[in-house]
Every structure is written in C-alpha cells, then in structure tokens.
C-alpha cells in the first residue's frame, strides 16, 4: 500500500489534545506515521495526497451500542450492510450487542461472530457477550473464558438483570476477571407493557407509559452494589433527568463508573411521536423536553461519557403495526455524527466534547487502543464537512433496515471520507 497524506485539514484529536490545521501521514502498513502542522505537501515525497481544506479530521467513531442481525436476524442487518452504513457516517468500530439468535452467551457463538465479522465486515467489530445465559437474567455466563476469546464486555443488551442476587454475584465475580459490566437499566415490572414515556403524551395517546423511576431504581441498586465491589461498570443508556441526580451524587462520593446516552434521547423528545409514529418507538423511550435538556447539559459537563447510536435495525413489517405491537428501536449508525453535530451548531456543546464522547471516551471505557490519532496507531480516520447541509432521505439509507427516527430531517455536517487501517473505505 502506498503512503497516504491528508493535508490542510483541521485535526481534532481529544485524546492528544490536538486541535490544529495540518496533515496526517499514513504509512504503508496503515498506521499513522506523522501528524500535525509539519505534515504538508511540501515536505512529503511519494504519497497519495488528499487535500481536505476546510474539512475536519477526527479519529474514526467508536459506536458503543450497535445491534447487528448476525446470527439469526440477517434480514434486518448483516456485517456487510452494517459496515456500509457505518463508514458512510464515519464510524470505524462498532461494539455489538449479544441479542442475536442464538444469544452470544457462549464461546462458540462468540467465535462465530468473530469469524463472520472478520470475513464480512469492513469496520472493526468488538463484540460484547451476554451477562447471563440467554440474557434471561438468571445465571451468569463464563466471563473469564469469553473474555479470553475476545468479548470486550458483558451486557444483556436490551434486557436488564432484574434479580438483586444475580446482579450482586455478577458484579462480585466480574471484578475477578476485570470484566466490564454494562447494564441496560430498566425495571421490568414498572415498565411492563409500556411503550412510551409516562407523562402527558402517554395519557393523550392512551398508551401504557414507562415511568422514569423504572430506570432510576435499577441505577440506584447497581450503584449500591458497585460500592461494595468497585469493578468496571457502565450504564448503557440513560434517559431521564432524575437518573443524572443519582449518578452525580454517586460520582461525588468517589464511585467510579461510566454512562452512555443514545443520540435519539439527546435529539428528540416524546412530543416528536406525534400521532403514533412507530419509528420513534424506542427503548429507553423518548422522554420529556426537560429530560432531554438535562441530558445535553450532562454531556457538556462530562457526567455522560459516551454518545451512542443505539443502532437497532428493524424491518418495515415489524414497524407497520399499531404502536403497541410495533418493534422497538431505530436504525441510526450513519447519522450518529451528523445528529451529534446539531448540538455544536446550536451552541449547546463544543465540538471537542462531542468528538470525545464518540472516540476517545468509548475507547477508554472498553480498553481499546483505537479512538485517537496518536503516531503509531491504526489510521482509522473520519473526515467531515462541519457546515454541509443535507436532508436524510430514506432511500439513501445504507443500512438494510430503513427505520430511522429522523426521516426527512435537515442536518448540518456530513462525513466525506472514512479511512480504516489507512484504507479509504468511503468517499463522497
């Protein structure tokens, strides 16, 4: 592979505190050889040049919550279609959820996922394994063996471990293996049959609500348990203002853990559901505007560490039903960056903070060496135009499933090139 040189680009690399205009030199084996002001067309011989004036280069995005259909739901998304969607949005690595058929709760299924992704995926796949067998919440999986075979963390994905006893054992045992435990926080009893945020809208539409306390009760419990064991713990998604109060108070007492949020909960509220728009049936549900604003503040002040797409492709048939019966989730990996940039454009967050939550923070939580533009690291790079306006048209969605929550939305900021291991995998 010939050397590549990206020039005249604004480089933002939160991990190395870089924000300057310069160049990035990628060597023959796809690693970053040099970066900064000194890299320019004048002092590099022999290289393929990419002039990216007025564009921004960031480390490839690491999306920490992605559902891929393999194995079992290939008709919704496979590794190939996921990759195409991802690279068009500057995502170079996906952390995949274990909620497949069968569930990734054993070494051989994990091995299947690893081999399939190695053969079919363009982007880097870092699989998570289930916390409990069949994600049923009863018996813990083989954390040690699964970690040895390449599970980067453990979560029941769309399920939340309900039993206090099981969760106690999980956090206790996971500490031995230094395993990362990721919880989707939602009490099953309080949220049973619920499909939207419990509030004015649930009453207006006559839909069963999911109270925000269903989230808080689990977070509160888990943090109490964590206090005892002090292992690696991450809250997958939070959706409510009151959860933030609990999190802040625990952090102020010195407890160490991390928190994620879905871009959907940062960008939309329950009113957007309007008259039963099933594409906005999400989990956790879109909550009130007050909640949404509090979540943005928490990204800004660092209470929330990562923003995820919560990419959950669902075929149209499972969305063309009544709201109660429709499937939950939205496809969103390719719009993660553009939607996040909205919060930069409207002045609620600075660019560096947003990029950090999409790159270096997820890398740090998972212990990945990616997520930065350090010299010697793999050249996973996204280049985007911060200002470019565009409209999300359903027909242009790359994912196999077109169930976006933001159809026809006007966006500002678009990915133009994506490199993985120095290879140009997407260019517009």
């Amino acid at each position: 592979m010939k050397k590549k040189c990206i020039t005249n680009v604004r480089i933002i690399d939160p991990k190395n505190s870089i924000d300057e205009v310069g160049g990035i030199l990628i060597n023959e084996i796809g690693k970053i050889e040099a970066i900064g002001k000194q890299v320019s067309k004048g002092n590099i011989s022999e290289a393929e040049f990419f002039d990216c004036s007025n564009k921004i280069a960031i480390p490839g995005i690491i999306d920490m919550r992605v559902f891929v259909g393999e194995p079992g739901f290939e008709y919704k998304e496979n590794f190939r279609t996921l990759s195409q969607a991802a690279v068009s949005g500057g995502v170079t690595a996906a952390i995949t959820m274990p909620n497949t058929l069968p569930v990734v709760d054993n070494v051989s299924t994990l091995d299947f996922v690893k081999r399939r992704s190695r053969d079919k995926s363009i982007i880097k796949i870092f699989p998570l394994a289930a916390l409990t067998k069949e994600a049923a919440g009863d018996d813990m999986t083989e954390f040690g063996l699964l970690k040895l075979r390449g599970a980067w963390g453990f979560t029941d994905g769309i399920q939340c471990v309900q039993s206090n006893k099981v969760m106690d054992k999980i956090l206790n045992y996971a500490k031995n293996k230094d395993a990362l435990v990721i919880q989707f926080a939602q009490d099953n009893e309080l949220s049973k049959n619920g499909v939207v945020h419990e509030g004015f809208l649930s009453t207006k539409l006559g839909l069963k609500g999911i109270p925000d306390i269903a989230e808080q009760i689990i977070i509160e419990r888990d943090l109490r348990l964590l206090e005892q064991y002090k292992g690696r713990y991450h809250i997958a998604l939070i959706s409510s203002k009151k959860s933030l109060e609990i999190i802040k108070s625990a952090k102020s007492k010195g407890l160490t853990f991390t928190v994620g949020v879905s871009i959907n909960n940062l960008s939309l509220n329950d009113n957007d559901i309007g008259d039963f728009r099933t594409f906005l049936k999400l989990s956790p549900p879109l909550r009130s505007e007050e909640d949404r604003l509090a979540l943005i503040d928490a990204v800004k002040d660092g209470t929330i560490d990562v923003i995820v797409s919560d990419h959950k492709p669902e075929d149209e048939e499972s969305k063309r039903l009544t709201f109660q019966q429709a499937a939950t989730g939205a496809s969103g990996i390719e719009t993660l960056l553009s939607l996040s940039l909205q919060h930069v454009h409207n002045g609620s967050c600075n660019l560096n903070t947003i990029i950090k939550t999409l790159t270096s923070n997820p890398a740090k939580i998972l212990g990945l060496r990616n997520g930065s533009l350090s010299v010697g690291s793999e050249a996973d790079i996204a280049i985007f135009d911060l200002e470019k306006p565009w409209v999300l048209n359903k027909n242009n969605i790359q994912s196999k499933s077109k169930n976006t929550a933001i159809e026809n939305k006007r966006l500002q900021g678009k990915v133009e090139k994506t490199f993985i291991n120095g290879k140009l995998v997407f260019s517009e």
Partner: protein
Amino acid sequence: MAINQKEAIKYNHKHLLGIQYLSIPEVNLILDESLAFVELNRQENKKLKILNGKTQINLFFETSTRTLSSFELAGKRLGADVMNMNVLHSAIKKGETLIDTAMTLNAMHPDILVIRHQDSGAANLLSQKVNCAVINAGDGRNEHPTQALLDAMTIKMKKGKIEGLRVAICGDIMHSRVARSNIYLLNMLGAEVRVIGPSTLMPKNIDAFGVKVFTNMEQGLEDCDIIMMLRMQTERMDGSYIPSTREYYEFFGLDYKKIKNAKEDALIMHPGPMNRGIEIDTSLADDINRSIIVQQVEMGVAVRMACLKILMESKQ
C-alpha cells in the same frame, strides 16, 4: 339566512378518528344533524335512502354489543349495505396484520370502515392506508368519539345545554377511552369537568387536560349536574390497581348516599356494560328519575347516523 349559515359550516375531515381533531362548529354540526334522526328513530318507518348504494364495513377486533349493533342499525336505517366482520373467525387469527386486513377490505371498495381495536392508534393507522372514510369505534385507551358525541347529545336533550354544567367522570379513568373523548368534548362545549377515582387509576398529567382531579368521591360529586360512571376495565389491567372490588365499591361505587353530594337533579350516565355492585348501586342504575343510561343507547343510533351522513357528504 339560517340555511346559509348551516351550509357554511362544513366537516373538514375525511375520517372521524377522535374528538381531539374536531372543532366546535364541527361538533355542533354533528349534534344538530343527530337531532333530526332522534325524531326519525321514534317513528314507525325509520328507513331512509341517504346512503343507498354505499357499503359500510364494521371491523371489530374487540367484542361489543351496543356499539356494533348501534353502528349496524345506523347504517341500515340510512340505506347502506352493512357488513359485520367477525374477526374471531377471520385471517387475523391466522397472523394477518391490521394493515393487510385493511388492504384486503380496501380492495372491495367500501365507503365506510368502522373499526374497533384493542390498540390505541389503530384507527389512525388504518385511515392512512385505505381510501374510504374511517370511523373510530374505540381504539385501546385512546378515543371513542361517537360515545362522547352521544353522551353530549343525551346531556343536551335532558338539560337543554352543556355549557356551565358540572360533570364528574368517575372510576377507571386510566384505561378509559370514553373518559378521554368526553374530557375533550365537554371541555370544548364549556362544561366544568371533574375526574374522580383512586390515584392508581388516574393517568399521569391528567390535570393538564383541563380537569379537576378528586380522589374523594363525596368531594368530587359536590354540586355536580351530571355523573358519568365508568366501567372497571379489568381486561386492560396488568396486575392489581385496587385492593378489592369490595373496597372500591365502598369508596367509589355510586350509591344513594354519595349521590346526595351532587345536585338534587343530577343525572347518572354509564357507557355500559355496567358492573352492578362494583361501580354503581343496582337500584340506582335503574332509577328512572336519575339514570339516563337507556337514553344514551337511544342517542347512540341517532348520533352514528349523523356521523355516517356527514362523512359521506363531506366526501362529495
């Protein structure tokens, strides 16, 4: 002059999906039209030809006696061909989705689809997929517009007006589409609406709909003109919302003692079917000086005839 005014008021929708989408003139138009049909229904010859050649399909996914028969009679009296789809024996049971059923029926070119479904929003979904007019005959906990219209009609007939009346809706507000439609409609027509029930059966933020919330029935009934009782919708409940029906009757069942708090001439309504001895004292329910439950059923046919007629006219 009066004729011109009436012509000026139009029904501006293709469907009747909920009271929340209607304006005051549209509601009044329906109520005015209903009045003529009340008279007609009391005569010996009740048959009209207004809907001759039109096809009306009643698509009921939930069991119903009074609403289904009321819609069937309304259509037949106006001259429409009426077909009742018995969903229990249809392809729905074989896994067909609501939209596929709708598309199948749509291909038969009906003029009106009357739908009742257990899921909120089902009528809205159907209306997006078919070419004919859709009437919501009750969707989940969302709306039951013709019930609210017939209730308003009944009140108007009995009290001569709605504006300024104090109306209490009592019982299982949370699971009730009748409550929601009535709250919209009675508020729109200028009544003072109260909701009474245990807080476990109150939906969140219900006060934001412009109603006063009472968890004490005696207080809630004070000086009320109309008392609307609701059925405990046990089939929509997952788990226990009240300790027992015995306890519920003690505190929220309407009896001769509690009704003393309301006005002396207060009237009792119930959308049916009633659970005697749970939400209402059985002799009170049959008290002809108090209960106007039978009149509600009578108004139901007239109001539904008016709705069918207006929808067909607005299509032309």
